[in-house]
């Protein structure tokens, strides 16, 4: 009986969103009378930071600082339609819809500015600081504040735009069943090191080293935050989380979240995160969906590490001490 050490590796491809039934998200953008911009969505921020990312995307597209944008996701009854925040699709789908809406709003904004400056709209550019300038003659300019006032009170224009992003439904080919479940994939690879006590079946994860390829990181700190949490969640899925009883008798099962196991702050593996950015072709400013995939590769990596340590394949999650001991017993019997 001994503590045995093992190392496992796993790599995954993970789709962004799903287009099995079409996968639309809609966005509306409009300016206030003083040149701030509202993004209206039904997409919901669960804490992953969607509102911040949508504000950045809108600001980048219109050409204003991010703090000039307010994102309203208040009510799915009254907002433009969104399929929902799931399948790692929020940034990708809603972001593309926001870009489309913001481009249309920007066009109206430039047309109003062109009338004020008596130039062609195509000769104008934004400085990202809240001003519109004539290309090559930046001394000729107008603030977006003044453009919005003019649009509202003088010219009767609504600086607004509509966005609808839809990846069409993919139908399987009749002969082969081949289809295109997604247009955009994130990738990850994890190496996990574990110790397995072959007397108790207990697994301790020592280190988790993850590389994530997530398209362009639109907000690198928020991406890192999600990946760190996701890596921990992957370990939790691999070793702890289940609504089923750990032991065959149903009476031994968890009855509420108090008995739903997860690793606590004292159970953390040494974790490393490396982010690779390969901008996606159809993502907003190159983004992909890092949300769910970041909690996936740790699971097979831990299962492989357990195999490396004690030579048994556990193919049911979570990898509990009982499952390891039963597998060791079966192995010894053979």
């Amino acid at each position: 009986m001994a503590i045995r050490r093992g190392r496992g590796v796993a790599a995954i491809n993970y789709p962004t969103g799903m287009n099995l039934g079409g996968d639309p998200t809609q966005a509306l953008v409009h300016s206030t009378p003083t040149g701030n911009f509202m993004v209206t969505l039904s997409s919901v921020d669960l804490g992953q930071g969607m509102k911040q990312i949508m504000a950045q995307i809108c600001a980048e597209t219109i050409g204003v600082p991010t703090d000039r944008v307010v994102v309203d996701t208040a009510d799915t009854d009254t907002g433009p339609h969104c399929m929902g925040t799931f399948a790692s699709r929020g940034t990708h789908r809603a972001g593309n819809a926001v870009i489309q809406a913001a481009r249309e709003a920007r066009q109206v904004m430039l047309e109003v500015a062109a009338e004020e400056l008596e130039v062609n709209a195509s000769d104008l550019e934004t400085d990202g600081q809240g001003n519109i300038l004539v290309k090559g003659a930046p001394q000729k300019s107008i603030s977006i504040f003044d453009v919005a006032l003019s649009a509202h009170f003088k010219r009767g224009r609504s600086i607004s735009g509509r966005g609808m992003f839809l990846i069409p439904r993919s139908y399987p080919e009749k002969e082969t069943g081949a289809m295109k479940p997604s247009t955009c994939y994130a990738h990850a690879c994890t190496v996990a090191e574990v110790e397995v006590d072959d007397e108790t079946g207990e697994v301790t994860v020592l280190t988790v080293k993850n590389v994530f390829e997530i398209g362009r990181a639109l907000n690198p700190k928020m991406v890192e935050q999600q990946l760190v949490g996701g890596s921990w969640m992957g370990i939790s899925h691999a070793l702890y989380e289940t609504t089923e009883p750990y032991y065959p008798n149903r009476d031994h099962g968890g009855t509420d979240f108090n008995q739903y196991l997860m690793p606590g702050p004292g159970d953390l593996a040494e974790t490393e995160i490396i982010v690779l950015e390969r901008p996606s072709a159809d993502g907003p400013y190159g983004a992909k969906g890092p949300g769910e995939m970041c909690a996936n590769p740790q699971i097979p990596a831990v299962a492989n590490a357990v195999f490396d340590a004690v030579g048994v394949r556990i193919d049911t999650l979570p990898i509990t001490p009982e499952r390891i001991l039963r597998a060791l017993k079966a192995q010894a019997a053979n």
């Binding site: 804490g47 935050q225 949490g229 996701g230 921990w232 997860m262 606590g264 702050p265 004292g266 974790t271």
Partner: protein, 160 residues
Amino acid sequence: MAKVPVQFTLNGSEKAEFIDSGTTLLHALRDKIGDTSPKGGCHQGTCGACSVIIDGELRLSCLTLVETCNGAVISTTSGLSEAGVLHPLQRAFLDTFATQCGFCTPGMIMAAKVLLDHTPNPSRDEVIEALSGNICRCTGYEPIIQAVLTAARSNSQNAA
């Protein structure tokens, strides 16, 4: 049910209410007084989201009957900032990205505050021990541990 009079100090201001006997402090704070910073997670004393400070001790407001709080001095996260300036712990949670959905954050901050009040320069293990009664689903805990250590460092720098 009979109403009972309850008086205590909440974040520096006097509160006096008639409250149904048997009401928890969590329920009284959120639904009677209107301080929604303590969160109701499990209502059984295991998740820590409802943590508040009563007379300097970390307590679970979901398991504390409000009648037992007569004359107590109670602090919640909503009373931490002063004149719009965030408490060093709040600042550190922001700076280290230690919050995602935010539901555990007030309880985490209260647990960390009691730790730093008693142990201004805690070790990593002491931080882990102090946070071990609080559950987080999003962050993986490491950013929260870093936030508490960061706040402790900024406190000791300000004191120096």
